[in-house]
Amino acid sequence: MAFASDNVVEINGLTFRRSGRAIYDNVTIHIPRGKVTAIMGPSGTGKTTLLRLIGAQLRPDAGDIIVDGHSIPSLGRSDLFKVRRKMGMLFQSGALFTDLSVYENVAFPLRVHTQLPEAMIRDVVLMKLHAVGLRGARDLMPSELSGGMARRVALARAIALDPMMIMYDEPFVGQDPIAMGVLVQLIRLLNDALNLTSIVVSHDVHEAASIADYIYVVGDASVLGHGTPGELMNSTDDRIRQFMKGLPDGPVPYHYPAQDYRQDLLMGELL
């Protein structure tokens, strides 16, 4: 049981299929409490799907997902919404409510889940915005923000209720180097300062490896390997080496499966 309490999320024997194709096949992943864990893997391997399974926006075909002692797939609708209040999630697009200002976006979870007086809501919102460096942008609308700023506002909103864990869905995609540096620093700082547990889904090897305490590499519907960033960088497994070093060819082929090149070209003469 001591082992169980060390993990915020325990995924055991997870199988998930979409349109008959197995995205995950009997996968086991444990997310340790208080750490930054990166889920990495090539695009299209179902990393975001994993976050949606943890958040119960998707239901697994088999296996169990336990979040802080709650078996997520077996929870009823109202219990599920209660458990979700303990989770924060940063979506790839930020997913800010476009009809609300930055201030109101961050205040939204506080208004719907607490009975705090307006003065206290204001203080909390300003503190959260200050933590992400955007206190001065409180009156802007989401359409007036850059991509990086939108993600930071979404991060402030995600931590508004002081959740026990935050899931980041591809936080570094499409960011300029400054915005990326800010986000990398923020994820680590917030995790340590607020005693959170962070799950970062990413395929940006260097950024994710620089902040992660532990990494799972997923692909081919299974966990290809896991370990600390140092262990994975020195892995002898071809598939992990190819991914971690960014090699263009290897077990994941450069070419999409096709018929023989020569034959394919010769077919043109028959036309």
Binding site: Q57, R77, F81, A95, A154
Partner: protein, 271 residues
């Protein structure tokens, strides 16, 4: 010959299989929309605590539809007055124009045309709005904040549509009657006293006004249901939203016209 017969049987079986698949998909979709509606409107903390959201939606669905409803009502009433006069004058009973305009509007054109305009103006907007919220992950982020989008987004829109429709239909009919009066009394010179007294004598509150209100309530229910479900169930892509918006207008229009026949048959057809 044997091969041809075999091909024929194979294609017939394929046709049957596709027909079956189509049927199952339709039934599944209807079932899903039913569950969706029940969860949205009868779930806990649905209606009572959300009056402010309801007021906002009453404004955007009801008040903002007033211009198109008023202008259409005016023109349809004017056309009815003109056509009614031209037909009735040949029988020397042009004083009955008031009766004809009022009954046509209250029983049929008021609820039906309002519902069609409502589907085009507010229904399509509802679908596009909810669909876009889905595509930009706003619904997902709301779920992860622990707020049920069915209660927060769908329920207020549904109730606002249900409440707005009979009011819009009533406004349509009243403006239409004044449009009819404008043409037949002010322009074509029918005696004002007989125009209004004929109308007063022939219009029955329970049979004509109440049945018209019942029709508009049914249309409001169905059109808003279709609109919010299509938005919620859309594929989260630009093409998906475009198709869902089109489906809302097509399905709503067909449902309104089909239901109108059934309701008319039950209310006025001595069935």
């Amino acid at each position: 010959m044997k091969q041809q017969r075999l091909d024929l049987i194979t294609s017939f079986i394929t046709f049957l299989r596709r027909l079956g698949q189509f049927g199952i998909m339709r039934v599944e979709s209807i079932g899903r929309s039913g569950v969706f509606l029940l969860l949205a409107i009868f779930g806990r903390s649905g209606f009572g605590s959300r009056y402010q959201l309801l007021l906002q939606q009453l404004y955007s669905i009801g008040v903002l539809s007033l211009v198109i409803i008023s202008v259409s009502g005016l023109f349809i009433g004017m056309v009815l007055g003109l056509q009614g006069y031209n037909i009735l004058v040949t029988y020397g009973s042009e004083e009955a124009v008031g009766q004809m305009v009022a009954l046509t509007l209250l029983r049929e054109l008021g609820p039906v045309v309002t519902a069609l305009l409502y589907a085009g103006r507010a229904g399509s907007a509802l679908t596009a709005e909810i669909g876009l919220m889905k595509a930009t992950e706003q619904l997902s982020s709301m779920e992860m904040i622990g707020v049920d989008p069915l209660k927060r987004i769908v329920a207020p829109r549904f109730w606002a549509g249900f409440i707005s429709m009979p009011l819009l239909a009533a406004i349509f009919s009243v403006i239409g009657i004044y449009g009819g009066a404008m043409v037949s009394v002010d322009w074509l010179g029918i005696y004002e006293g007989s125009f209004w007294s004929n109308m007063q004598q022939s219009v029955n509150f329970a049979d004509d006004v109440c049945n018209g209100v019942i029709k508009s309530l049914v249309f409001g229910f169905v059109v808003t249901w279709i609109a919010v479900f299509q938005g919620y169930d859309t594929l989260p892509t630009s093409e998906g939203i475009s198709r869902a918006t089109t489906r809302t207008v097509v399905y709503s229009s067909l449902a309104v016209l089909g239901l109108d026949f059934i309701l008319t048959a039950v209310m006025f057809g001595e069935l």
